[in-house]
Symmetry: D4
Subunit: 165 residues, 8 copies
């Protein structure tokens, strides 16, 4: 049902090769029924389109932006510089440094422009979606319920199989 | 005016020695008029009080939790495991590894329990407050206006003195 | 014979995917005849069960806890916060940072709550079992003898084939 | 004589606190008689001014841009995305990670938008100026001569005092 | 009362300059009434004395060895190779790499010879003493009580001053 | 058309195994019609040939040198010490440290001899060619046009496929 | 001819799995006609045999010891503590940290006991043999000639194929 | 007495600011009566003088070269490329990365040209002198005796004060 509505969350990435690592974010947003859009927005190859995307996001109805990038990962921070919306950053492990470079480039933002950074790669992508959900749940009680159920299901999953020997 | 009201943001830290680095968060919350409380909550020395703090936060009216810790920094992630509220983590540079250990311990959360990690030390503390503001601004238009003004003031500050020679 | 008795050692891990790396610990405990139990206990997905596991461990007769986790590895430190038993931590290489993040998250514990940290991955798992054995050997002379024999066998193995050319 | 003319080199930095580390660049440009301008251009606090600065640089007569930034250092890469001029990046050691974060954020640019990265801090600033000089020397033979003399002077300096005991 | 009795814990260090960082270990052992001895034992300068110390430790009545060293920190691992007693290692920050080298040298032990590694520097020294106490508490109920009280005192300390604003 | 003319750019590498990673540089130089030569020049195995190559480069008509090396990567810096031409360095990921050693060895040049360092591996190789093009474009307007077209093509590529869902 | 004579060089390693990485050392010693022996000597599993090996090496006629180890690599440093012979250390990439741990454990020796550390893995193994040869060449002119020829052959190899395009 | 004779050891450094860290090397060479010379030889500022120094070293009677450098430390490796003498490298902590960059630049030499790398800074400088002594002791029995005495004195020093409490 999600992406038919006006999107609440914008999921953007520096290049199409990041999509593989971002898939868990998209899957969780869909599973939680959070309307979203998915776009390639390259800070370096399409800076104008990035500035436009970021500066119009709020007016278009978005509430949260999830931005993923690898290497010298400038996308999350630059988008954050052009919007007041909360921006969540996901470091992509797409260079030879396994995402450590992207982590540094995303998390070490100077005072004034925050990015809520998640873990490197797929776990971070999943958590960006869950963090977006926890933000949106402040406004939407039924989303809060779905998030609570998602979290409980994972707890139950562990508890069910907790005895190995 | 802030901390007289029911707090919207809980600012917690692993030990009182973190307060020095967290000060910019408290100052910005105050400046933006965001009601908040400040507590020492040690994951390791007071695990029960931590569990209680986290699990009652939402019911007590908090909307966002800012958690700071150094070294093997478990506070943000553990609090996040006990609440559906968005949790923002700030790595403290209180060991000999200058906060790199705390950054790893906070940001590399497994799939399922997100922490929106900020930069190490004071810039991260300031940004945690601003990120909390951007989340709360989704609900409170007048806070959005104050946040926009805060951001604009910093832009103006740079522009005013941009020519050095 | 081991796991039929009341267990002396609890072997716990953050997720079932850690089992592969923990196998050497279980094998050595079995080989040395140390009764043990193996459980999945997730700090983040099952915090209440973790608190319960840790706080009842001593009363249930456990003497040592071996806790393994990857990424922002909070399990060993949190368990240590809820028990007076010696806790041994094993960093799991389950993220893109090859266990360096888990090592930092486990070893850099603040003053007050110790975790005896072992090497990353399988060698660390094996050594956690041996360290548990050396602790239990203080009480059980026959276990000391078995441990001494295990160590001697490895010495003999090296000495037998030491001349390569 | 330098900065009276139309500047050939733009020296920009993310914040005024970077000036201390950039001073060697400015001194060498002045010493070599290379007209230059010095500006604060913050990628995060003044993104529009940064985009304007970068996109008009070539038309205003600049030939090379030296950009310095610390932490999640986005300035050099973002400027490079908006100009065809060669951009030289200097990582600033202004966070608790001593410039390692800035180095990663500047040097690990994706295919398509290069930044010629120099060493962290003052040596890198000096070398950015010398690199700019070597680029400009391709066009200006008298600058090439001044650069050759500068380099020779340093060689002579070492040779003069090379015998310590 | 502690060090008059036959020592239960041997506290050894690679050089006298480590004593400053080890002081918290000695203080806590004394506070908990655990008899101990303190020795300089250099793996590199006094290898024979190290071998003798380690191989006679158990017969002399020691139950646990705490070994601290910096740089290429071989003391904990080598002592562990010559005794079946549990050995706890404390990385000392005595080189220009702030203890990261010592951490690697102590924690990354190969399968067969475990060292229970603690945090770098003073917090690790304190925790080594507490870990030794938790091991000895398995045998000595009154020590367990003193350890429980020590831990409770720290919990109380946090709780008493937890409200900052 | 490129490599038939007197070369403008010298592409050199420490060993033939680097060629795989340098290929994107050669491809882009060819695509942009920049005459170039490709040579193996080992700083360690052929120091005299390296000194000769570097010191005669300018006289032979080269304008820019791209130098790639792995491990203790001395080639870019040593070539830079023997020429006034701009030297661009590309760290090769040919050791077990994935190019981090080469990055340090290339970028951390002391004051006096600059190397414009690019990213590790293939993206850095491509960007070295583009950086060389941006330097040469200062002199050759038609090359500037080709570079602008190359950059625009990549922008268009992103924009065309930017909507994923 | 080499290993039939009284060995001049002892090549030792912490475990048989290191042999694969040490092979280049053995091949070069053989190629240069340097008599040598190859042994497994584990610092942790066979500390007594290690002490004996090191303390009798000089009397048995060895002139240089090449010691390789991975992880918490104590072998080179401990051997160096028991002999006045020059000891060359080779870090083995046998843990999940790719040899960085072994490098730290070998190179960061405290004042008083030196280890001449080589690169991680195979290149370091080859270089340990060459370094041993350069030491022995001080005494044996014909070995110096063979070493010179070996080096020249590699120079010629590069020069022969230096033109790629 | 040492430096009046034809020097056996050449101690060289990239800049005079390294002298402070190299002092322990010079002191130990003097103490052991090893004739030596001390020179500033900059790989980057005086490449020709470096090539000359290295290529004439053997003919001038030197037996060992100790080379110290910081940052992108090319001096040890380049000298090693121009001589068959054993070269010992000492990483200098003269940049903001505390010598880690110099360590990488010195130790990660490719197959063919070895550098016997010592620890970062003063301990490494002292050990370079001791390593040189151990090499020269193969030829000069009376130096071997002095080296043995030096080592014994340090052992005695530890043993004398080994009991702290």
């Amino acid at each position: 049902m999600a992406s038919a509505d006006t999107p609440w969350v914008g999921v953007i990435m520096g290049g199409k090769s990041d999509l593989e690592y971002l898939r868990p974010a998209i899957d969780i947003l869909t599973e939680l029924g959070i309307p979203h859009e998915v776009r390639v927005v390259s800070a370096h190859r399409t800076p104008d389109w990035m500035m436009e995307y970021a500066s119009t996001a709020e007016a278009r109805g978005l509430s949260v932006i999830i931005a993923a990038a690898g290497g010298a990962a400038h996308l999350p921070g630059m988008v954050a510089s052009k919007t007041l919306l909360p921006v969540l950053g996901v470091p992509m492990p797409t260079t030879l440094l396994a995402g450590l470079d992207a982590l540094m480039s995303i998390v070490q933002m100077p005072k004034g422009v925050p990015v809520g950074t998640q873990a490197i790669g797929k776990p971070g992508a999943a958590n960006a979606a869950l963090h977006a959900a926890s933000i949106l749940a402040l406004k939407y009680p039924e989303l809060r319920a779905r998030l609570a159920a998602w979290r409980q299901a994972r707890t139950d999953e562990v508890l069910r199989d907790r005895v190995l020997s």
